[in-house]
Amino acid sequence: MMLERVREVLDGREAVARSWKEQGKKVVGWICPYVPEELIHAAGMLPFRVMGAPVTIVKGDAYLYPNICTFNRVVLELALGGRYDFLDGIVTANVCDHIRRLYDAWHFFVETPFKLILSLPHKVSENAVAFFRDELSRLKSDLEKLAGVEISDAALKNSIRTYNRARELLRRIYGLRREEEAPISGAEALEVVKAGMFLPKEEYVALLEEIFESLKRRDERYEGSARVMIAGSDLDDPGFVKLIEDSGGLVVADDLCTGSRYFWEDVDVSGDPLEALARRYLSPVLCARMHPYEAHIEHLIKMAEDFNVDGIIFEALKFCDIYGGEYPLLREWLKEKGLDIPVLMLDREYVLSGVEQLKTRIQAFIESLS
């Protein structure tokens, strides 16, 4: 079945990295989609998204603190336990308070050969683009040293084209979810997007082409008593989406950094590639951490309307101040615009827990929509 390879990748993502390393090539981990993978790819290395896994947090609490979100504590737990020892480098950006502190802990306590945190502006202006371009130039130079190659503009543009192709295919796949009966469930869509964060991009593009063609012909269709969108903090667990779908809703769209935000916008291939990357990765669509907040909310609502959703499940990881603080702004914004889109706010932990309680709230919400 077409999603077999996707699940194989997700079940053994480290195996993908190891097989890459067996070819004598390097793997660079990235945390948060503000890191332009294209630069890592252009240096001939494998970009690999650092994610968590269902583990008990012990060291993550001791080395960070229990008021850091569970995504970051779980990731540190894995890193301290050696799960990310295969990485030749780690790159992130000053995205949020939690990631900044995860980077500190990783810097001090985990022996990854190369570590870098980008100074990422919070807004889009010509000054900000120029500043971030300088940051990317620093990253490029460090990656060149790590890989022992020079990244030419031509190579970088080539990588950008490959990534843009993957983005285009993902947008097409998402487009199929606009249909009343979608050929792909929300949980499956999340799996498809996630696989691209570990696979070599050329292989992923080929896989997406195959998936897109299969979906167009797929007889199996999904429907629900309500069309739901998920938005909010880092959510990479298809099990959470399945919980919503098992409760009667069909997840047809998302505003997640593990979902649509990861691929919604292309990088311009004309002109200076570093500037093009700086512009694309400073997009307010990528996260609610950007200013002004309206740009992100407008994008979210436009997507909700485009995909004809009946309601939004807005989830925030416990202690996530960006999305915890975004919710009152979203509510005020909807009120101000006179938009009657129901929103359910859920606090959650990174590893799915409190399932029965969550299910009760989700079921009640979906019933209210249908």
Binding site: A62, Y63, L64, Y65, N67, I68, N94, C96, D97, H98, R100, R101, Y103, D104, A105, H107, F108, I117, L118, S119, L120, P121, H122, K123, S125, N127, A128, F131, D134, A288, R289, H291, P292, Y293, A316, K318, F319, D321, I322, G324, G325, E326, Y327, P328, L329, R331, E332, M345, D347
Partner: protein, 396 residues
Amino acid sequence: MAAAIPQIDSVVQKRYMELVANFFKSAFDARNVGKKVVWMAYFLPSELCYTLDAVPFYPEIYGGVCARMGIVLKYIEAAESFGYPRELCSATKSAAGLALSGEAPPPDAVLSTQPVCDGGMKVHEFVAVRYKCPHFFIDMPYSTDARAVEYLKGELEEALKFLAESFGAELSEERLKEVMELSRRAEELHLEVNELRRKKPSPLLSIELFGQYFFPCSFLGGTQAAVDFYAFVAEEARRRLREGDVPEEKYRILWSPLVPQSFLSILQWLELEYKAKIVMEMVGYAPKIEMDAAKPLESLARKTLEARFPSLGNGPGVFNLDRYRKVVKDYDIDAVIYFAHWGCRTICSAVKMVKDMLREEFDIPMLVLDGDIFDPRNNPVEQARARVEEFFEMLE
């Protein structure tokens, strides 16, 4: 609720309380005297407002005054009822609660930023929405190198233009230079006060300013009042040293980073009864900053990036640790008390790094006190006191 401000017989504390009262009174009176009020995110430079003869109002800092007076909880609860998470920083929630209550001077403009926290950034966005007033976001880079100073200089310039445009005021380069000259002098005098605090025994107590020696530089930077205040404190410290009128000192403590305004009684008890003198607070620490009134915005950018609390969270932890190393050496510290403010991700997650470094490099013990900077619901004062006692027993 009755006022809970621990007052001692100190001319410095009396003068400080007058300074703080006048500072906030000027915001409450602003409309009556035809001045504009700017709501400022925690630690954004007040010099921007004074250049345009506007009055800065720092809601989180005012929340701190309310915490000292025992009246902050209603603002925190108002924010929670509105939908802000219980886990959000209580200082930030007090700012949201003040906006919701309408009990603070309404802003004519809002200046916000990200450091020190994401929560603060989101709440200041909300303040601008709530009051439907113009809002400018000052983007602070996550480093302090020359490129970062240049970037922030551009942001500050834009912020000044924004305020001038919003208020229909004219931006005067000459006025900016005057303000920055006052700012430079206040920094210089603050450094002098800090030098005096290094003396053994130190002539000043932390409780005399409620642990907020940074207040005039940070929130009255660019005013004669800040200059006069530090000059007064320095003179009083010199008098005490000259006349041998110095509080007794058994231990020299670094308090880090924030001083909880909801249980200042702990500080008072430590310093007066236990003779454990807090000779520096990390929240207010500032190194010597290169400031030149002829380069006003560059100087202001340096001050904003390099001084006090933002510098602790605004850059990878390596910078943070270097600063601790310097303070421990310069102030001959015996022990560190680290207040892990539950609402602050930046503070709490540095606990292990700082503790390990102090033990490994200086063999200095660090006591970690968990609590909340403002929220009286989360401050077990008696428990904290017991832990402090145990800690000092161990030191002895």
